[in-house]
């Protein structure tokens, strides 16, 4: 063939290189999507086996109050009521979010509105450091400080929802704070100027203008914190006592989904009912993290700052 014609019709070296590069990046991003799909497929297939293979009814599983997968109850059904763990998880999540939110918002306001100088010099690195502390270290501090403290004040063993709440409070505080700071910073400057020009004090401006404008962002931050608290495993497992009983008070040993999972999965045989029931707990965790994700999305869509 004519060499000029050939060079016009064939792909150039540069466009081949471009193709190759494109394929590499497509492969990488495809891999991440494939991992997500695989996680959902495998955890769902294992978790649903409790209901389809072992014929446990979903209602018994979600609302049953006794967790003892190895044994059968009076009517011959396995005792796999996950309500103690589910309620334990929700209790620690909501309580820690409830305590952490005012502190997080207060710190964020301080960093953005009251003293931006000290905020960026002291509090910014402090929150970054708190995020970086590994969860087992939080668990260890919980075990050696919080548990004895709760024991000496409230009696009992010290293990329980209250200790878990304290540990989670410190863990989610920096997450919620730094996200709230970002939202407060994104409130336009002229909002503040308009309010101050009307003669409002700084606190009136913060309370009546800035916090109102930042509400969707703050809610997102709190939901993120709750998602982190819900999925946290080891720090909670170390201080909550791990008794799979319905939580009767804040200071009696109880359990969360994650704590029973970490304790149990190594002691059960793959494919048995005990094991499948644990995978069902993992499935609940997965669905809850999906749910938190959706909530964040809905808040973001409806509350976008106009």
């Amino acid at each position: 063939m004519d060499p000029i014609r050939e060079s016009l019709l064939k792909k150039s070296k540069a466009s081949k290189l471009e193709m190759r590069g494109k394929i590499i990046t497509y492969f990488c991003i495809g891999l991440i999507v494939a991992i997500v799909l695989a996680i959902f497929y495998f955890v769902a297939s294992k978790g649903l086996a409790t209901f389809f293979t072992d014929k446990v009814s979903i209602k018994d599983f979600l609302l049953g109050k006794s967790w003892n997968p190895g044994t059968l109850d009076k009517s011959g059904k396995p005792e796999v009521g996950a309500l103690p763990m589910i309620s334990g998880s929700f209790f620690v999540t909501f309580l820690s979010a409830l305590i952490a939110t005012p502190f997080a918002i207060g710190t964020a306001i301080f960093m953005v509105e009251i003293s931006p100088n000290k905020g960026s010099r002291i509090l910014q690195p402090v929150t970054e450091l708190l995020v970086g502390i590994p969860s087992v270290v939080y668990g260890f501090i919980g075990l050696s400080v919080v548990v004895p403290f709760v024991r000496s004040i409230f009696g009992g063993t010290g293990f329980g929802i209250l200790s878990g709440t304290f540990v989670l409070f410190v863990m989610i505080l920096p997450t919620v704070t730094s996200m709230t700071v970002d939202t407060l910073k994104s409130v336009p400057r002229y909002y503040r100027e308009a309010s101050l020009a009307l003669g409002a004090t700084r606190w009136q401006t913060i309370y009546k203008v800035i916090l109102r404008a930042a509400t969707p962002g703050i809610m997102t931050a709190v939901v993120f914190g709750m998602a982190r608290a819900f999925g946290e495993a080891l720090a909670v497992q170390m201080v909550i006592g791990n008794a799979s009983l319905m939580p009767s008070s804040l200071i009696t040993p109880s359990s969360t989904l994650t704590s029973i999972l970490t304790m149990g999965i190594g002691n059960t045989v793959m494919g048995s009912l005990e094991n499948n029931a644990l995978w069902s707990l993992a499935l609940i965790l997965l669905l809850m993290s999906l749910f938190f994700n959706m909530v964040v999305r809905v808040i973001g869509k409806r509350g976008a700052l106009k």
Partner: protein
């Protein structure tokens, strides 16, 4: 109450809250360092752990943590770089990109214990890798991928578009522009992201309990043949890391000096994380100054 008084009260309350948060961190760090540092010695950092008697160290666990960190970064960095390049350079504004972005977000919000269990199911059970460093590194890769991808994407996006236009106008293809112009310019940001993710990997335990295992067999540090079972480099041996070690001795409670060992190990862990943070803060800036000769 008049507005001025309310303003004063609110301001002092906010000062109080901010002070409290600083106090909490100071107390946490102080507690760990004061309790832990007296136990940290060269001997503590280099001798193997003892299960039933006191006086054990964390030598093997420390080595395992670093080795696992290295392997995880080796696996996850290239993938994150590719994915980050796709997201910032090739992604079109359509539903496919939305789906992909959503799945990256979901992966980053999954509880690490679920990721660990998935790694257990796939690598330990299905692929029969057993409790091994390889299984642990792959599970940590899943955990690390979305976070690292996002931070790489952000640092690539921070490069002005004019840099890309300059590349295109020289006749470079998009891929060449990215690899020769954009990525080198973004190196400091990427480095910061990698170091911060290293801190997270170093402290992670929940994803490792059922993948890298909870035992640390004795290692022969004179044997560097990766195929030998006693070699520190063998990726198929079970490897308890420092973070897992803290969790394990506290929840099993048969080691007589468990609380002293975990205080020491926590101090080592915290110092490592502080170092990573410090490096991320100043390393990126220093590198940027060095390679761009700017101030």
């Amino acid at each position: 109450m008049n507005p001025k008084k309310a303003d004063k009260i609110a301001t002092s309350i906010l000062y109080g809250i901010a002070g409290f948060v600083v106090l909490v961190l100071a107390a946490l760090l102080g507690y760990i360092l004061v309790r832990g540092l007296p136990h940290v010695s060269w001997q503590f950092l280099t001798t193997p752990a003892k299960s039933f008697s006191s006086g054990g160290g964390v030598g093997i666990q420390l080595f395992n943590s670093f080795y696992l960190l290295l392997l995880t970064l080796l696996i996850s960095f290239p993938i994150s770089l590719g994915a980050g390049i796709w997201l910032s350079e090739y992604a079109k504004n359509n539903w496919v990109t939305t789906v992909i972005r959503t799945s990256v977000e979901i992966l980053s919000s999954l509880p690490s214990v679920v990721v660990g269990l998935f790694g257990f199911l796939i690598f330990v059970v299905q692929f029969n890798f057993g409790f091994s460093i390889l299984s642990g590194a792959l599970a940590l890769t899943f955990f690390n991928l979305p976070l690292l991808t996002r931070s790489i994407e952000e640092s690539l996006r921070a490069i002005p578009y004019s840099q890309r236009e300059a590349g295109f106008s020289l006749g470079l293809s998009r891929w060449e522009t990215v690899t020769r112009v954009v990525v080198p310019d973004a190196v400091p940001g990427i480095l910061t992201g990698v170091i911060l993710s290293a801190g997270r990997i170093f402290g992670e335990a929940a994803a490792l309990i059922y993948t890298a295992g909870q035992s640390a067999p004795a290692l022969d540090f004179t044997n560097w043949n990766p195929a030998n079972i006693a070699s520190p480099l063998n990726p198929m041996r079970p490897a308890e890391t420092l973070a897992v070690h803290i969790w394990k001795i506290n929840s099993e409670g048969i080691m007589p000096d468990a609380s002293a060992v975990s205080a020491g190990a926590s101090a080592v862990l915290i110092i490592a994380v502080l170092l990573f943070n410090f490096l991320a803060r100043f390393g990126g800036k220093a590198l940027y100054r060095k390679i761009t000769s700017s101030k």
